[in-house]
């Protein structure tokens, strides 16, 4: 079983090829780590897997949805995305942001409090998101993933802005997700010391240059 498969996938953004012929597959369960220098295509590959980039050439399937002819919105609803940037409405509180996402996805609202507890933000539940630190915003993004319980976790440089405790929390969440039979794909510059072992794809110039 695979969560995603790509064959000669090419993605261009404003005419510039950000992925130039990626062929790989992502197992339906387990961890895949994307490594590579800046501009190698890690974020672009994650965005393609999340249905956020369209294929320019090649073929692919994510969670059973054809990336060429299928509805990419169906992919988006089933993935959990953690990006570089802040991802919330600053004028809403922590709980209101999560409630919006939960209602949009048809998740029960009683998943919000346990998710905040899990990421250590329970005491910030009614704080305006604008007032959160970078690390706390990262934790809120993790809480969003916990509420969503996606089949495919896409984490772009997830350890950025996290302190030691936050990194341990992220490790635990990744382990939990894999334990719950989800697929996790994360990008990283540096060597990671994760409690879960996984497959590593090395990207260079928008292609998979190595795999181990």
């Amino acid at each position: 079983m695979v969560a995603a498969s790509l064959s000669d996938a090419v993605v261009t953004v404003d005419g510039f090829p950000v992925l130039s012929g990626v062929s790989t597959s992502i197992a339906a369960e387990g961890l895949t780590i994307l490594r590579g220098p800046n501009g190698s295509g890690k974020t672009s590959l994650l965005r393609l897997l999340g249905g956020l980039h369209a294929l320019t050439r090649g073929s692919g399937e994510v969670l059973g949805v054809d990336l060429v002819n299928g509805d990419r919105r169906q992919v988006r609803r089933r993935v959990g995305w953690l990006g570089h940037e802040g991802a919330f409405y600053d004028d809403l509180t922590v709980t209101e942001n999560l409630a919006f996402a939960a209602r949009a996805l048809g998740r029960p609202s009683n998943t919000i409090a346990p998710a905040l507890e899990r990421v250590g933000l329970a005491d910030r539940a009614h704080t305006s998101t604008r007032l959160l630190s970078a690390g706390q915003r990262r934790r809120l993004a993790l809480a969003w993933l916990v509420v969503r319980r996606p089949a495919l976790w896409l984490l772009d440089e997830p350890y950025a802005s996290l302190d030691t405790e936050g990194r341990e929390l992220l490790d635990a969440l990744v382990a939990d997700a894999i334990g719950a039979k989800a697929a996790v794909v994360l990008s990283a510059h540096d060597e990671l010391r994760l409690s879960v072992s996984g497959r590593t794809l090395v990207l260079v110039g928008g292609r998979v240059a190595d795999e181990y």
Binding site: R76, G83, E85, G86, F88, D91, L92, F100, A104
Partner: protein, 220 residues
């Protein structure tokens, strides 16, 4: 679709209420512009009353540009846009929700402007009350049109300055019909055909927006 629309509308209105941008930036602009327009027309009550419908709709359209830009800005940070995209919301529902929130905001500013037109430009109060249905329909049409134009121009470089160029020419019909309806109301006549025109504009913008919003969002 309606569930998504309600969710998005409530979120947009809550964000607007918390930020107070409409209250402390957009409304003061509308009132200042109204005062300036009154001064420009001159002290004659007859002249200001005659010019009042045109001034009202011209200012309404200028204010609507600020409201449209503000509506876009809520989702403009890249991370927020991506996160919301991963919710996979029904585009027609998002369109209706954002248009509904914008309608509430435009209606609020229109009512303030209408009060100003009565107080500062000597428009008849009775005529202003009778003109209310046309004001409501015009606000709805501009909200629906503004939502789709906001999505079309996007929030990238040049989006804010491109918006008036794209939106204002297409709002000419709404401006003319609204102005005629209000002028007829102030004179005590029948304004039924202008009301029908505004209703058709509202239906057309809503239908086109619901169909095209998803594509416009993806391409922006």
């Amino acid at each position: 679709m309606l569930i998504v629309a309600r969710l998005v509308a409530m979120k947009d209105l809550k964000v607007e209420w918390r930020s107070r941008i409409l209250l402390w930036q957009v409304l003061p602009f509308a009132v200042i512009a109204l005062v300036l327009a009154g001064l420009a027309v001159g002290p004659s009550a007859t002249d200001t009353r005659r010019a009042a419908p045109g001034i009202f709709y011209l200012l309404s359209l200028l204010v609507s540009l600020l409201v449209i830009s503000r509506s876009r800005a809520i989702e403009s940070p890249t991370g927020t846009k991506t996160s919301i995209a991963t919710l996979g919301l029904d585009p027609a529902g998002v369109f209706l929700g954002k248009a509904a929130a914008m309608f509430v905001e435009l209606l609020f500013t229109s009512l303030v402007l209408l009060s100003g037109v009565v107080l500062l430009l000597h428009a008849p109060l009775g005529g202003a009350v009778v003109a209310l249905p046309s004001v409501v329909l015009a606000a709805g049409a501009v909200a629906a049109g503004g939502t789709i134009f906001g999505a079309l121009v996007g929030d990238g470089v040049g989006g804010t300055t491109l918006l008036p160029v794209v939106a204002l020419p297409t709002f000419v019909g709404v401006l003319l019909a609204g102005e005629k309806a209000m002028a007829v109301c102030f004179a005590g006549g029948s304004f039924g055909r202008w009301l029908v025109f505004l209703a058709l504009a509202l239906v057309a913008y809503t239908a086109v927006g619901a169909l095209l919003y998803g594509g416009a969002e993806e391409s922006a």
